[in-house]
Structure formats: structure tokens, C-alpha cells
Symmetry: C2
Subunit: 487 residues, 2 copies
């Protein structure tokens, strides 16, 4: 203090006071700036706007909804039903309830029927910043996108880049046609491959059992003059009629429901190859698929089933043109909003390939773990069995990968278990009976694609079923064949 005082005496007080008052003035200005700005801001932009104007409000609304936890057993969606507070509430996963989804419901059966690809929901929550998109109020109001097309030119480029990078499809000599889900493209291509000539007999649309039931139900619904449902390939395989009739063969590879690789059966038929599941999270990729006509869907690539977006890779230009005409006539193309979302999603996927957040590594990890756990339980059973899938080398992962099928194709082995769907229903597991796929009722499909809650429930019920075997009345009844699928 002496030193300071001494220093003080060396200069005239007026100088000190001038400096002092200047400093005080600066204090006042800085404090005013610091405290008043936000209040001024409130009026202007609802608080600190971080350089955002119109996008701030929708961004905050989206995060406000997402902030609600729902106990990890549900979601809040912007388009959910609004409660009394005017905000959408939690939508709980199956078997969970209460305003925050914390209540586990009693006697709730597992639902493994649908192929809802919700196993990727956690991935997109982890990658929210890159996978989310702000759709401006004036985004693509019109019918056309760049260059007067219904299809985003940039999205086409990214889809081709994705196939090249993943190595699951040869794209260079193919035309690209978008659809409202790959299911629209199935009929678009059936139409494109049928002869418009009224004189020629209608083409027969066929598939090999077990097949995806919608192939039949959709074809039957449209039932045009140019084509009709022709049943399973076995009926025609060795018929001489092969040559004389036009066949359109629907092939899913990997197949839905049994997840096995499938080949075309009828020689000389036009084949539409559904490659929905030909991605590294569901199957090994031995080589790029190079079929004349291939179908892919956002649903099984990124989990965006709700976006209703699929695409076809088509070698022949005329077929591509007719398929495109079909999509334009029936829906005037696929939603531009879905196209924008998929553009952002595929950009995010590409940016993370072979990195820490590789979607295929994440997906394969989840799906192979589920398959391993399910097998561990079912392998103890003589009553039910699963399809057998060997580990195989994958060109994408550059290693032999553990199997990770989208579905369990469950067979009931006991003589008396004629209806496997019913057997599982009694065990409180809802599945999709093989009958719809023209397979034996001894088979039924259980989806492994859904939420962790759904899978945990499924595993719990299957475990109970298997554990009950030794106590069950029919125990010891010799199974018609033990795990024939494993042979």
C-alpha cells in the first residue's frame, strides 16, 4: 500500500481522476453491452440467435421435442398427437406405457411380425447433426427438380457413389429410376416388362416359394390386361410352356422371408431382382450384383421405411423409360421431401464409411448380436429350428463376418405342430406365417429388425417356450425330424 501511495504522490491528482473516470465510463459501457444486448435480442429473435433467422424457431421446436426422454422406451415425434400443453407426448414402444413410457405392461406379447427397421434408430440419434435436415418452407415447391426432372440429379449421383463405395451393385451401365418405396417399382417394372400389345397373352408374374407375400397381393390387385399372377416357379420349372409364355420372375436375394441367397429359376424369363437386403449389415457382399434389373429401398439401407423411397437399377433403356413413365403416371415421381431427406442421409452415410460411425458396422454389430443370442436359445430346442447361415467373407468389411439376417425363418419340428404361427402365438410371439409366402404352415417369419425392446421381448418369450419343452405334455414325442434345416 505504501508503494501504491508513493506512486500516487508522483503524479498530479487530476491525471489520476481523468484515467479513473474514463475507466468507470468503460465499465458502464461494457456492463451495458453485456447485460442489455440479450434483452434487446429477445424482442428481435427470441434470444441469442447465433446468426440464425428463420431456421431458429423450427430448430428449437425439433430439439424441444427430442429432449423428452420417454424412459428410453419411446419417442416424441413432431407430428405426434398434441397433449393439453399443446406439445406432442411420448409414443411408447410396444408393451410400455404411461406418460413417460416407464410402465412395463403385464402379459404383453412380443410382436415380431413387421420388418420395421427400427434397429437403426439409435444410430441416427448418435448421428443427429449430420443426419437431420432443415426443410425450408419454399424448398422444391414445384414438380421439377434440377434440369426439369422429377428425380434429384444430386441424389442420383450420391446413390451411384454409395453403390460403388460399398461394392454391392454395378451401376455404371444402369439407368436409375426412383419410386415411392421399392414396392411401387415392383409393379412399375412388371408393367415395363409386359407387352402393351393386346394380341399377345398376358405375362405370368411368378416367384419361388417362400416369397415376399406383397409380390402376389400387389400383382393380384392390379391384375391388368398385360399381366397376371402366375403362382410359384415350381409349377412352370420343367414345363415346355416355358418358351411359349412370357414370364416375369420376381427374385429376392437375400430372400424375404428365409434370408437365403436366391437365384432365378425359369430360364428365359425376365427377372426383377429385389436387392433390398443386399447391404453389409444384413449379408456378406461377395461381389457387386449385376442383374439386369435390381431394386433397392431406403427402408433397408438406412432404416427410412417411412420415407417411402426406393430405386431401381435397370440395364435396358426402354425398360427404364417404361418404368419411369409408370411412376410419373401413377404418382408423378417420388416425394421431393423424401428425396431431400435421403440425400442428407446418404451424404452422412458416405462421410462415415469405414469410420467410427460406419452405419454398416453398427448395423451388423446389432443384427449379428441378436442372431447369436437367438441361436444360443433355439439351439437348445428340439421343437423349433432356424435357417442356417454360415459365416462368410465380405468384400466390404474385408473379413469373414458373422451372420446377421433380418429375419428368423422359424420351423416347428414336432409332428403335431402343423401351424408354427399358432404355436408361437400361444407362446406370446406374433410372427408372419409361412403360408402367405406359399411355404408350409410349419414355417413362420420373426422379424429381428425392430427396436431393442421388441427383440428383448421376442428373446424372452422364445426362451420361455424352449425352457418349457422338458415340462410340456408332448415332451419326448419324437420330432418328425430334428432340425432338418440344419442338414
Amino acid at each position: 500500500m505504501e508503494a501504491v501511495a508513493a506512486a500516487g504522490q508522483r503524479r498530479p491528482a487530476s491525471t489520476w481522476l481523468l484515467a479513473f473516470y474514463s475507466s468507470l465510463l468503460l465499465n458502464v459501457l461494457l456492463l451495458a453491452h453485456h447485460f442489455l444486448r440479450p434483452f434487446g435480442g429477445v424482442v428481435a429473435t427470441g434470444g441469442d440467435s447465433c446468426g440464425l433467422s428463420w431456421a431458429l424457431q423450427p430448430a428449437k421446436e425439433a430439439e424441444a421435442g427430442a429432449a423428452t426422454e420417454c424412459s428410453g422406451h419411446g419417442q416424441v415425434f413432431l407430428d405426434g398427437i398434441t397433449g393439453e400443453n399443446g406439445r406432442p407426448g411420448c409414443e411408447c414402444n410396444r408393451c410400455f406405457g404411461g406418460p413417460d413410457c416407464s410402465v412395463r405392461m403385464a402379459n404383453c406379447s412380443a410382436n415380431a411380425a413387421s420388418g420395421n427397421p427400427l434397429f437403426l434408430e439409435p444410430y441416427w440419434k448418435r448421428n443427429a447433426a449430420t443426419g437431420s435436415v432443415m426443410v425450408s418452407a419454399w424448398h422444391r415447391l414445384g414438380y421439377i427438380t434440377t434440369d426439369g426432372e422429377y428425380q434429384s440429379v444430386e441424389l442420383q449421383r450420391l446413390i451411384r457413389q454409395l453403390h460403388r463405395t460399398v461394392g454391392n451393385a454395378a451401376v455404371d451401365d444402369k439407368h436409375l429410376v426412383f419410386g415411392t418405396g421399392s414396392i411401387q417399382l415392383v409393379n412399375a417394372l412388371v408393367h415395363a416388362l409386359s407387352s402393351p400389345d393386346a394380341a399377345s397373352p398376358p405375362a405370368r408374374v411368378v416367384a419361388t416359394a417362400p416369397y415376399y407375400a406383397s409380390y402376389r397381393t400387389q400383382t393380384r390387385m392390379f391384375d391388368g390386361r398385360e399381366y397376371g399372377w402366375g403362382g410359384t416357379t415350381t409349377a412352370w420349372a420343367n414345363a415346355s410352356s416355358n418358351a411359349t409364355h412370357g414370364f416375369i420372375e420376381l427374385v429376392a436375394s437375400p430372400n424375404n422371408p428365409d434370408t437365403l441367397m436366391q437365384e432365378r429359376v425359369l430360364r428365359g424369363s425376365a427377372a426383377i431382382v429385389d436387392r433390398a437386403y443386399y447391404w453389409p449389415h444384413f449379408t456378406h457382399i461377395p461381389a457387386p450384383a449385376d442383374d439386369d434389373i435390381m431394386l433397392f429401398t431406403a427402408s433397408k439401407l438406412s432404416g427410412n421405411a417411412g420415407s417411402r423411397f426406393g430405386w431401381a437399377l435397370i440395364r435396358d433403356e426402354n425398360v427404364a423409360e417404361r418404368a419411369n413413365d409408370y411412376v410419373q403416371e401413377s404418382t408423378m415421381g417420388a416425394s421431393r421431401d423424401s428425396q431431400l431427406r435421403m440425400l442428407v442421409v446418404i451424404k452422412a452415410i458416405l462421410a462415415n464409411l469405414h469410420g467410427k460411425e460406419d452405419i454398416f458396422a453398427f448395423g451388423h454389430d446389432v443384427m449379428s448380436t441378436r442372431w447369436r443370442r437367438l441361436n444360443a436359445v433355439v439351439s437348445r430346442s428340439r421343437r423349433i429350428s432356424l435357417q442356417k447361415i454360415p459365416p462368410q467373407y465380405c468384400t466390404y468389411f474385408k473379413r469373414t463376418r458373422a451372420p446377421s439376417p433380418a429375419y428368423a425363418w422359424i420351423k416347428c419340428e414336432r409332428e403335431e405342430d402343423q401351424d408354427c404361427h399358432e404355436v408361437l402365438l400361444k407362446a406370446k410371439v406374433i410372427t408372419r406365417s409361412g403360408v402367405g409366402s406359399e411355404a408350409s404352415s410349419r414355417y413362420t417369419r420373426a422379424s429381428l429388425l425392430k427396436t431393442d425392446d421388441d427383440f428383448d421381448m421376442l428373446l424372452e418369450m422364445i426362451t420361455d417356450l424352449v425352457n418349457d419343452e422338458k415340462y410340456s405334455t408332448t415332451a419326448g414325442s419324437s420330432p418328425m425330424s430334428v432340425n432338418t434345416q440344419r442338414k
Copy 2:
């Protein structure tokens, strides 16, 4: 300064110095806080995050794109083709070019062919904060929305509320079915109204000329066993076959292309009434429409043609069920992304009804001004004429409103002008010939729905055409009939 100095002498210097250094310290801290915080922030959240986390990046990307002006003659879209800088560039309106769309192209013809509803683009730029939506990366990945439906329950509620508030449709006794644009719902309902019974003859799908050409082209493309295109109603109007055959009559009211109110012609036919243009920005609303089957589309309500979203209001439950089955089989419902966007858009519309930003007031203002300006020019012509629309009382605006049709239905009056589409093409105006609507080639449709640039170009070319009349070689050639439409 004396007074200050005097004041200085009254206290010991040490006190002053303490206050002085405190003040300096405070300044240092305040300045440090002000300047250092942002740099710290950069590391953490990429700058001032205004309480946003994952939504900040997509919000900033959207605004960065929207910030580019494109000289008022173009747009930057997030899914536009990326340039060397990795960002999408300007997409210029027709007849404009250059990196910033500032160059007006020479000898560029006006394109008035399509019904692209871009006249609402400025409205949504003005209402960006309420009309934009942040789509989270995990939004509605699955097939189903609330309550296991493909259709957003909340969007259904808002659509019903909108019809009630606008008073253009009776919704209380109707079922609501969403489609991928109303065009998908046309065939969904043709299918729903046809008899699945193979024994009964196929239903005849008919319309009154001039009609929307897609009614014919789409029906012809599907050409199912249950129904076929039956041509225009005039062929059947007084035929006794009326009773013996099943007719499905497609009625557009207001009609496309001639914008006049249309009634069903065939007694006892099932009618699908397309109400796409039955909104106050295109027509007066005398009373709520109450047809058994009504179609509406986002395209003509809010300008969201690219969203491919439409809905049907259906009285009969079985018909609604069959139409819904069709949409599920063919596309598994309408895109959930489009449903979310429309939910936000309709919320924004509802919030502004009868207010400063009423979308119908804005739309009617733009469209009635365009119609008035076009009429002012065409009224000077003896070569071309327009459909006549009287001002009429509108229950929504609660006043008599000036006409504001979506299309100009142009007739060429001169004997030698057999092909009106060609006449206008020579005048550098691209229109849609009446022939496609089974009207005389003396008629052609010019869209008034597009951008201001498009309309200005159209008006410019039409003005030249009209001004040329007195000089044209055929001047004075007596017109076959003067403005017959006006009679």
C-alpha cells in the same frame, strides 16, 4: 477540472487508487469475457450455439443456402447440384442464366404449360419461420405413425380443421385417405368403385370434355380387368346403356383446364369429384362441397406440388377402405416426410387465416392481379379470347371477390387459326393444347400459376401477339365468331 482536483484533495490517494485498480480489473474481466468466449465456443459448439445442439448444423446449412439471392430470378436448393466449392449453386428461373441468374436470355419463349404452383413461393419466403421444419435424423423411421397407422393422426385432425375453418368441404361424415398426390387417389378410387367380381363387365371411366388429360392417360395405363377408359360423357349422356353399365365419372370442379364449375353429367354414375382448385385463392366458395367422394391436393392448397401429397374425403366406409387398401398395396401409404412437412405447413396456414399473412388473401391477390392484367391485354384482341368468369360472393372472404383462375383457357377466334397451340407457339408462348382434353384444337391452356418471371414473360408475348394484329397479313379477315366464349 478545478472542481475535480478539489474533490481529489479531500480523500487520501490510496482510496482513489484502490477504486481505480478495481475499475481497471473489472474492465479487463469484461473485455476478456467478451472477446475470449467465442473462441472457447468454437471448440465446443462451432460458435454461439444459442441453446441448440444437433439441430444447429442443419439449420445453419439451410440458411447458408437460402442466403444466396440469385438476383431474384432463381433459387438455391439444398439438393441442388454442388459446384466446385462443394455447395449447391443458383437454379435460375426460365429465361434467366449466369451464376447469379442475372442474365436475361435472348429469344426465350414463355413456358405456360405446366401447373407448377410457384406463385406461392414468395408467400413461404415471407413465412419461413412458421413454414419450415427440422426433420430429425430419427423422425418416423418406421412404417407406422401414431396408433399403428400409415397416416398421421394429427395431420388428419388439422386437415379436417382447415376444411371447417375455410368452409370449402363438409368433413364430419367423411373418411380421410392420404395418397402420393391426388393423382394416385384417382386410380385408388377408380379401383375402389369397380366391382372385383370378374363376372360383371368392367366399369367405364368417363369425363366431360374438356377434362384433365391425366384422367385418361392414367386410366389407360392401368387398364385393369375391372375398369377401362370409356371416353367422354357426351357419348353416353342420352344412351339407354346408362342403366345397364357401371360408370365412374371423373369431375373436376373448378375444372382443369377451363376453370369453370363442373357438375356430374351421367345420372346414376359414381362420381369422383376433384376439388383440387376449390380454395379461396382460385375460386369463390359459395358453400362447403359435400360430394360423396372429393379429392384435394397439397399442390394447389399450399403450393407443395413436390411433396406429392393429396387426400380424399369419402362418405362410404367400404369405398374408403378399398381406396386405402390400394394406397397401401401400391406404395404403403404416402411419405411420412411429406406428411410432417404438410402438418407444419397447414399449422402455419391455420395460424394466419384472416390475418395479415392469410395465404388465401395472398394467393387471391396475386392470381386476380394476373388475371386482370391478362384480360386487359386480351380484351383488345379479336384473334384470341379467354373464358369468362364473373366476380362472385365468397363465404370465406365474406365479400364479392374478383376472379382469379389458375389457368387461361385461350380460344383462337380466326377461321384460319385451327390450332391455337401452334398459333401461340409461333408467338413464343408454350401452352397445353385443348386436344389432350378432347376439346377443339381451337383451345389451349396457359398456366397462370407459375413464378412472376413466368407470368411477366407470358404477358409480354401475349401483348406482342395482340399488338401485331393490326399489322398482321390476316388483319381484317372476319373472325369466325367474335369472342364466342363471352356469349
